[in-house]
């Protein structure tokens, strides 16, 4: 029974891992790809860790597993946010079908635009 649950959990986790990878490969721009990795990837790891904790079923392993999951779920959205913010502020190229409705963010924009043009100059000045 335990083995069954473990097997399901880890195969499911593996599946999500593969999906995350596939999504990273197939989806059209970086922000959309992040939807795949942050969600499916985190879930994949979480499921597998859960499977392990079920298998060993000791309080130590369960605590460890829960800690891993907690860490992952605390950090994944923050990490995604930081990368996405950088993508946005540096004006990285996005899929051409992307709709922009970000007028309210202009104040933030100004600063980063200046930074960008400075950087472009630096880029040439090797």
């Amino acid at each position: 029974m335990t083995e069954m649950i473990v097997s399901v959990l880890i195969v499911l986790g593996g599946g999500f891992a593969a999906i995350a990878g596939l999504g990273l490969l197939r989806l059209p721009d970086v922000l959309i790809r992040m939807h795949a990795t942050t969600k499916a990837g985190t879930l994949a790891a979480g499921l597998i860790v859960l499977g392990v904790s079920v298998y060993f079923a000791s309080s130590l392993v369960i605590t460890k597993a829960l800690l891993i999951i907690a860490f992952l779920f605390l950090t994944a959205p923050v990490g995604a946010h930081l990368i996405a913010r950088a993508v946005y502020r540096r004006k990285l190229p996005l899929w051409d079908k992307t709709l922009f409705d970000d007028a309210a963010m202009k104040s933030t924009d100004k600063a980063s635009e200046n930074a960008l043009s400075d950087n472009a100059d630096q880029g040439l000045d090797k």
Binding site: L67, F71, L74, H81, L82, R85
Partner: protein
């Protein structure tokens, strides 16, 4: 990084990471871990916090200058090695004290190797976070 989300979460993380780091240090003698790994985790926590809040806050968190922390760690390791010289053993010979030992259970083992490892831990925490603080302050 000046991100509200990040800095809020980082406060939470640093606590967890420090706790985990002490756990690693403590368990190192019997399970994976030890002073170096524990120290690195603690330093990683401090760095996460520092990346969110800036180097000034990292200094505040450490309270003493990282260099001092590093050298205190080094001295801790040295002193742990010197203790056995008092009972005329060689440098770095393990000295153990078992709290609550019974016939079957050894109880809670405290030994100079643990103190040694604490020294390592302090060196790594101070060293790594000190480097990052200096780097952040310079940039």
């Amino acid at each position: 990084m000046n991100s509200l989300i990040f800095s809020t979460i980082s406060r939470l993380l640093v606590g967890l990471m420090l706790l985990f780091s002490v756990f690693l240090l403590w368990r190192g003698h019997n399970e994976p871990g030890g002073g170096f790994i524990g120290g690195l985790v603690a330093a990683a926590g401090i760095i996460v916090y520092g990346l969110a809040e800036g180097p000034g806050m990292m200094r505040k968190l450490l309270r003493i200058a990282p260099q001092t922390l590093v050298l205190i760690g080094l001295l801790t390791s040295v002193v742990s090695g010197l203790l056995p010289l008092l009972q005329d053993s060689s440098f770095l010979t393990g000295m153990w004290l078992f709290i609550g030992a019974t016939e079957t259970e050894k109880g809670l083992g405290l030994g100079t190797p643990l103190i040694f490892d604490i020294g390592v831990y302090l060196v790594v925490v101070g060293g790594v976070s000190g480097m990052v603080i200096a780097l952040e302050e310079e940039l």
